[in-house]
Structures are given as structure tokens and as C-alpha cells.
Point group: C2
Chain length 335, copies 2
DNA sequence: TTGTAAGCGTTATCAT
DNA sequence: ATGATAACGCTTACAA
């Protein structure tokens, strides 16, 4: 029936402003009037117009999650489900509506991202690019809409939250070192992604700090797939490693299979450690020692960082938000 | 610099209305003025305010895709990735922004759906509920926002598009009948979902039309998982079927494994047919005969049906949109 | 506590 | 072809 504040106001016999106050739970309304208005609202089935409200308040209550990845990659990478879940939940808590933006083809990526972002429907957004130094980030910066990058970014002005990939890999390597391993090999992730780069650096630094120089023959590049773990381990075997640290669990599982197939046993002949702590890490034999990354926490933190950023009085002058979430070494039987 | 039409107008030395016309590509602007204005826009970096525009035009250009499923289910069900991909692409074509709404917990489902839907930010939305007769649909109807249900719904007033599960299952059964199978068993899907119900009905009707009465001992209820295929087949084996028609490919694959394990061969001793034609249907031995459902087409059709619905002159009086997309029997070696 | 009225940044209707 | 000006539905000083 009633579609506008004015109509409700007429029904309740008050002014439009009063109805607005009731709708917005303003305390400055007498109990009697409030009841009267509420009744009018209920009876007329009035629903406030979100667009008009957004225009007046200059905020929409919508935040975006833009993931410049193909939908298929999105669905196959075990990172995204818990991440998106956590972001969704946190948005719910903060009374944000979440607008999840997916992309179609890589070549339209830029166009589509900018469309979403500059549409001004978003109070802010999370940008989850898997490649470090994504050039799109610099452009987004100039658009003015507040955003948080999920994953570190070199640009001085971007706020981000990431997982401490470096520290996690370093700690895992140190752990292996403490076990007196002398020939610790690594199968890396893709080296255009922060996770790949940082985990490799953590490994190398741990070695150096222990007085060993990383050996070229003990490092092979992988791509986070199980297959690259199989291949990587086969290559590595020729150089007699006593341990293999894989860039993620899927790779570790591949390596595990290859090592076992070669007739060696884990962890007796060769120790193996993964990264991520996905479900299958405990499903293999032996269960994988791995570095757990707090994906859900990442989603939550990113969302609340965004929330703060949006409500910052002087956007830009507030201190930069840059967080690395702690990882945790989970020791199981593969080491 | 310039954030509003007025500012641009001042720079270009024209009226706000003219700038608006240029922005909206109205033909009623002289070439000279157009250039002048475009230059002013470019130099000032003006970006139209989508919210204000939405208020004035009474449309946002945003459509929603609401899927009342947990994120984990969403990511594990092979249906959703291609479906979402297709919807995303079609929205791109139609210049819609897509707002993908996920839910957190089932108990907050209703609340969350209604929040999204009645927020009035959406010009319309796709509602993809897996359970038939979802009661939420009836409520959404009264909200007034145009929507298309993905999956049939009994309510007379809802527009939907679905896949012809019934026809697909029926055809598959008829195909088996033509192969002179006399004891065709079925492992069903969950019977609160349209896909489960309709596929079962297709199977039964095909049998009846061939003059056979469905036998209780030849029908077992599954839940679309591989496991339910294994269990189902084991149960069925006791009643000596010559063929098993599974409610989907995963179930068929489970059945296939169970049958082979029992020492019987496929298709010689027992023929097996699946439904969906997922990737793994060709990865098993023997490759699965199955009913392909056009998931991407479903996404596209649903989106364009929504588009039409939104632009219908007299919403509600237009004829109902109810489509069942054709399925296709893909014959491979399991039959 | 309540009402009046001035925005919010567009689009769209009318004149001119 | 262009410019006033009135919507669009709401929030929010400012008055009363």
C-alpha cells in the first residue's frame, strides 16, 4: 500500500521526519508516537527505499568482494570456500550486504573490476588477487573507494592483510633443521604469487641463518598441484634429500606418493612437510606435518579492517593497515 | 575534481541537463556541445553517481543471484560453478551487475534472503533453491521484486526455468528398455529436491508405458553421493537387476564400482546410466552413458528470462515464464 | 518531542 | 538543441 515515508506519515498523522526517525530507531520520538507510527508501517507494509536512503546518507551498506579469478579457478582452489564463507559471516555481523563479483574472461578483468568498483554502489571492497604486485591495485587506489587487498602488495599506499607465509615456511624449515636434517629440499609454488615467493624465501632464509647456502639442485618449481609434487619429488630424489618441504599440501601429497613409490619410506628415509593444512592432509598415510594458515581468520580480519577503513574519519591519513596473520606448525607423522 | 553534474556543467559552460544528456548518449545534443562536455568530463575525472542515478531512474542495474545453500555445499556441488559462470557471463552481456548472495547458517536463511531481496537494490533476482516447493518462494512473491526461480515450483504465480529432469530420466529408461533390459533398477536422488523427484518419476513412467510396474525391490533412495551409489548397488544386486539407472553421475560411479567389485562386469552383466554428464563421467572405466543437462544454458536462460521479466510493461500480467530445458542422452560404453 | 525545509546527484518534462 | 525545474524517497540540521 504505502510505498513512501510521506504516505506512512499521512496514515499515522505525523510528519515524514518523524516516520524516518522511527524507521531509524532515533531515540527522539515519544513512545506514543512511535507506536502509532510502527502500527502504520506494519499495516501499510511499508519498506524503506534503500537507494533513496543511500543517496541521502551517502553510504549504501554494501561492500564488495572482488576476486579477479575465473569462476572455475575459484571453485577448484580450496582457499576460496572458507575464505568467502568467513567474509560472508563477518559482513553479516557488521550488517553489510556483500556483493561478490566474479569475472568472466581474463582479458575483460580490468574493465569488469573497474566497473564494479567505480559504480559507487560499494562503500568499500576487498580485493583478493592471487598474484602479488597486481597492477590493477594501483589504479584502484586512485578511484578513492576504500579497499583492502587480501594478500600483500608492494605499493606503499595500499592496506592489506595477508598470512605470514614467510614466517610459516621459515619455522617449518627450522623445525626440520632441529631434527638434524642436512639436505632439505623444496618444491615451490608459482613464483608470481605471494604465497609462492614468500614461502620460498622463508625456506631459504632459515637455511642461511643456520649457516647453509640453499642448493639449486634441492629446489624445484611447482605450481601448487599434486602433479607438480609428484614430478618435483622425482627430480629431487636424484639429489638425495633427507627432507622435502612442499609449498602446499597438495604438492606435499604428490611428493609423498612419489617418494613412497620410489621405495623409500616417510618419514624414515625422507621427511615431508606441507603448507595449508587442508582436510586431505590428515587423510594420507602418514598424516602430513604442515603449516596451518588461518584462512577464515584472514577473511574476518580483512572484513573488519575494511570496516574500520570505511569509518575512518580522514580516509588516507589514518595509519596504514598491514597485517600478517600468524601461521601454526602442525606436527604429525610425516616428519 | 568534479564530482557532480553541476560542476562539470559549470566547467563546460552548459546546463546540468546537457551534461546528463551527454553522459547518457542522448542524440539531442549538438556535436560541438558534446565534444565540449566530453572534454570537461575527461579533464575533471567526473564519474556519475550510480546511487543518484538509480533513484532518478528507479532502477539500479543490479540483479541478484540468491542461493540458499551453505557456502561449503555451494563449492562442493558440481552444479554451481558452471551455473554461476554462465549467469555471470550473461549478466555481463546484458550490462547487469551481479550481486551474488550467499548464506551463512540455515536458520538465518529466511532473514538473510529477505534482507537481500527487499533491500530494493536489486532490479530483480534469480532464486536457486535446490528443494522443490521452497516456502520462501511464496513470500518472495509478495515482495514485488521480479524474480525467476531456478528449478520448478508449484506456485502458480512463479516464473521458473528448469531442466527437463523428468524427460531425461524417461528417455534414458526407454533407451534401456529398447536394449531389452527387463530388470531396470534405480538409485534415486534426495526426494525433497525436484531433480530427485522428477528423475524418479521419469523412470517409473517409462516403465509403466512399457507395461511394467516399478518394482519396490528395484528402487533404492540415494542422495546424489558416490557413497549412496555404492550402497545402493550393493542392495540392488540381491534382486538381480540387468541395468541400474542412477540419479546422477556420482551415484552412477559409486554403483559402477560396487558392481565391478562384486565380480560382475559393466555393461555385459549390468548396464549403468548416470545423469548430468560431469567431467568424471568419462574418466571411469567404462565411460558412463548419461543424460547431459545443459547447466550453462540454464544459467543463461534464467538470466535472460529475468531480464525480460524486468522489462515487462505490466509486470504480472505478462504470460508466465516456465521453461524446461532439453536434456540429451549421451551413449557411451556403460550400456 | 515534533515539524519544516534543505539537501543528496541524478533524470525527465516542459518550455524556449 | 538547450535550459529551468520538478521529481525520485530519504536524512538531517534547524526551528518551534
Amino acid at each position: 500500500m504505502a510505498d513512501t515515508l510521506d504516505q506512512v506519515a499521512k496514515i499515522a498523522g505525523v510528519s515524514r521526519a518523524t516516520v524516518s526517525r522511527v524507521v531509524n530507531n532515533s531515540p527522539k520520538v515519544s513512545p506514543r508516537t512511535r507506536e502509532k507510527v510502527k502500527k502504520a508501517i506494519k499495516e501499510s507494509g511499508y519498506k524503506p527505499d534503500a537507494v533513496a536512503r543511500s543517496l541521502a546518507k551517502n553510504e549504501t551498506g554494501i561492500v564488495g568482494l572482488v576476486i579477479p579469478e575465473s569462476v572455475s579457478r575459484l571453485f577448484s582452489d580450496p582457499f576460496f570456500a572458507p575464505f568467502i564463507q568467513a567474509v560472508t559471516e563477518k559482513c553479516n555481523d557488521l550488517d553489510y550486504e556483500l556483493m561478490l563479483s566474479l569475472l568472466t574472461t581474463p582479458d575483460r578483468e580490468k574493465e569488469q573490476c573497474e566497473g564494479v568498483v567505480s559504480s559507487s554502489f560499494l562503500d568499500g571492497f576487498l580485493f583478493a588477487s592471487s598474484t602479488v604486485e597486481d597492477p590493477l591495485v594501483d589504479e584502484l587506489l586512485s578511484d578513492g573507494t576504500p579497499f583492502i587487498s587480501v594478500g600483500r602488495h608492494p605499493n606503499e599506499e595500499v592496506n592489506f592483510v595477508d598470512v605470514d607465509n614467510y614466517g610459516g615456511a621459515k619455522r617449518a624449515t627450522e623445525y626440520l633443521l632441529n631434527l638434524d636434517h642436512e639436505r632439505i629440499a623444496a618444491i615451490t609454488g608459482p613464483l608470481d604469487q605471494a604465497a609462492g615467493i614468500d614461502r620460498l624465501k622463508g625456506y631459504k632464509d632459515a637455511l642461511r641463518e643456520a649457516g647453509m647456502e640453499p642448493e639449486e639442485g634441492l629446489i624445484v618449481e611447482g605450481d601448487f598441484t599434486e602433479e607438480s609434487g609428484v614430478n618435483g619429488a622425482q627430480t629431487l630424489l636424484a639429489n638425495f634429500p633427507t627432507a622435502i618441504i612442499a609449498a602446499n599440501d597438495m604438492t606435499a601429497i604428490g611428493a609423498l606418493k612419489a617418494v613412497k613409490k620410489s621405495g623409500k619410506s616417510v618419514p624414515e628415509d625422507i621427511a615431508i612437510v606441507g603448507f595449508d593444512d587442508v582436510a586431505s592432509a590428515t587423510a594420507v598415510e602418514p598424516p602430513l606435518t604442515t603449516v596451518r594458515q588461518p584462512i577464515r581468520e584472514l577473511g574476518r580480519q580483512a572484513t573488519s579492517a575494511l570496516h574500520q577503513l570505511i569509518h575512518e574519519s580522514n580516509p588516507g591519513d589514518g595509519s596504514l593497515r598491514r597485517d600478517f596473520l600468524e601461521t601454526e606448525l602442525v606436527v604429525r607423522s610425516s616428519t
